[in-house]
Symmetry: C2
Subunit: 388 residues, 2 copies
């Protein structure tokens, strides 16, 4: 097991009708004005928006909005939020939504206390020294942005979707009320679930020995997701299933599954998928359903052991050599994605073969990346071809 | 799944040669003088004491000691520490040791900022409003005091061993260097492991449905402990085994296994064991090896399901009715304790049958307790008789 440090100060308030529990926290912290950061329809349909504004009105806290945050959120909305904060009267940021709202809110919280342009954080030209506190209300689990220190934002001008991290952008409090997720469209439940599975797999498949104990925890989490997603397709209104899903989503990517590993994880599949979202607006979960199996097929032969272990622990594949078990595990994962109606090829996403070189160039951008295998530009191209 | 809130701000620094990483934290926090709280021999033998004092000397931080903290630590040592702090020059507490040192340090940290007697916190007559920061160095895993907000202290005058809790006594930073545990006597590895297993079982056996996801995580942790303890008896110097043990110990009782449960856990076995430690100086882990199986045998028939599940998930017991599987699981647990040379009866602890009534009275002290089954005075007496 490798040395590590672990710190996660986010308070989670989890359960039914818990938005109201934000009020005493906001008051104790002296919050007078808040910036609400959210998308649109879903925020209203879930009931979250009304609950938050009722809570704020009762607590006598003023608020203004930055809304219309879209999936794969963009830097212009972050800048819009920062301008609002700099105009005065705001001392806290309240995302209402999923990863897009949280990531935007985090970038606003950091950028508001910085004199330069917020994109500097994403280009690693500046580090966060101060940030507004974030009190979030989650309405869609997937990114675990509600419990981590990461914000992923797209910059269309620069043609890049990338992340910033800082311990100062952990939400101070995150309300996770799984009942808000009962109104989510099936597609979002499926794609969110695939994202959650990816966050777990990107740890156990990073090529580091890590810790058997943490691996056991990770496999138990994957089994949970593989059980819960199909059940939720059948029973989308089941609160307990929504709760298991929401809790697993947070645990998958709060950072704990990285402890004891030499790497924090191999997030190649995420990077390969980000390009599809950036260039073609592909849903994040869909991009992972396509790219993770392709990535795995491309390199499992060089290091079949972790894939074979995945087969044993999750798909009950016990026969054959490690190579055989590994391939069977990758096929089983792909079959699972098909069973829950996710796309598993670029073709199904409507992407043309002619675009593959351009896609590969965007993902590589002259860098090698990945830990299980360092991916050069030609590897990346081959993976996209396999995904086609 | 029940509503819950979760907050744990302790920073963990985990791994080899990590004591030195405390220095930048202490300096950043402006610590000028520290109170070291520790036992004796073990602290020196492990090398922890030297590493801590070297680190403090290099950092220019003054320190004084409260030492000779014994297992089942007593309130007089807490009062001694508080007197030291009140004499001035100390702005942080540094426990070096296991649960006894950490629990003593936590109570000192809380009592030092309180005008009344520190025992008030244990009698729930006062709540903590301020506490000194705690920077701990762990040399023996078991209690998870290094990552939780609990302090368990004995008061011989009042004939009670009991706990205080406060979010203000979470250690600010805990250094967990598993290599310090390589010098632990076998008995302590065994007893610590039994304590860790008890912390996990006291959640899954609390009678609440909780969350399947968290149960899965809990069973994976128990399987880890059942694998690691016998291996450590064979290979006490194996760093990776020590690391798995230390990490499992922290995860077992940092509070997370309680999330989603109606109760925080059923800690009856701990309470039944505390009396044995208080009255006869029984090692904490030994008290649990005796009392937990007796407690389970006494009540499993009324609610066999969680015991049967334990059998399936940990001991691969799949045949028979729930009652049969439950009994087999309890026997398997007891056999495991015997295999690792732990006592499983009061008789083996040298306790006389004549003392049982007095023991039962001390554990009950006119209260009912427990969640899987509410234990009245007569239940408690019967459990001790079964344990004999």
């Amino acid at each position: 097991m490798q040395n590590f440090s672990w710190f996660n100060p986010t308070e989670i308030i989890f359960g039914k009708d818990t938005v109201k529990d934000l009020a005493p926290r906001l008051k104790a912290d002296g919050v007078k004005g808040a910036l609400l950061v959210y998308g649109g329809k879903g925020t209203f349909k879930s009931g979250a928006y009304t609950q938050v504004t009722d809570m704020l009105n009762k607590a006598g806290i003023k608020f203004s909005d930055v809304n219309d945050i879209k999936p794969n959120p963009k830097i212009d909305k972050v800048r819009e939020g920062i301008a609002r904060v700099k105009a005065g009267g705001i001392d806290a940021v309240i995302p209402i939504g999923g990863g897009s709202a949280f990531d935007t809110a985090k970038a606003i919280a950091a950028g508001s206390s910085y004199s330069g342009d917020v994109w500097d954080f994403f280009e690693k030209k500046a580090t966060v020294e101060k940030a507004l506190p974030i009190y979030g209300v989650l309405t869609a689990s997937a990114s675990a942005s509600e419990v981590n220190k990461i914000a992923v934002i797209s910059n269309p001008e620069r043609e890049i979707k990338t992340s910033m991290t800082s311990a100062l952008i952990y939400p101070k409090v995150s309300v996770i009320d799984p009942s808000f997720q009962i109104t989510l469209p099936e597609k979002q439940t499926v794609y969110g679930g695939i994202d959650i599975i990816a966050h777990i797999l990107e740890r156990v498949l990073d090529g580091d020995e890590g810790s058997e104990l943490i691996d056991d925890q990770a496999y138990a989490l994957i089994r949970t997701m593989i059980r819960v997603i199909p059940e939720l397709i059948e029973k989308p209104k089941d609160y307990d299933l929504r709760a298991e899903y929401a809790l697993a989503g947070a645990m998958a990517h709060n950072g704990f599954l990285s402890v004891g590993r030499a790497t924090r994880g191999d997030f190649s599949s995420h990077r390969l998928g980000h390009t599809l979202s950036l260039l073609f607006g592909v849903a994040h979960g869909a991009s992972l359903a396509v790219m993770m199996p392709a990535w795995a097929r491309y390199l499992y032969e060089e290091n079949p052991v972790p894939f074979a272990r995945l087969g044993e622990e999750v798909f009950e594949i016990f026969d054959g050599t490690d190579e055989e078990k590994a391939l069977e595990a990758i096929e089983a994962l792909e079959d699972f994605y098909k069973d829950i109606n996710a796309p598993t090829t670029l073709r199904e996403l409507g992407i043309k073969e002619d675009d593959i070189e351009k896609i590969a160039a965007n993902a590589s951008r002259g860098e090698t990346f990945g830990t299980l295998k360092k991916l050069e530009a030609e590897d990346v191209l081959e993976i996209y071809k396999l995904a086609y």
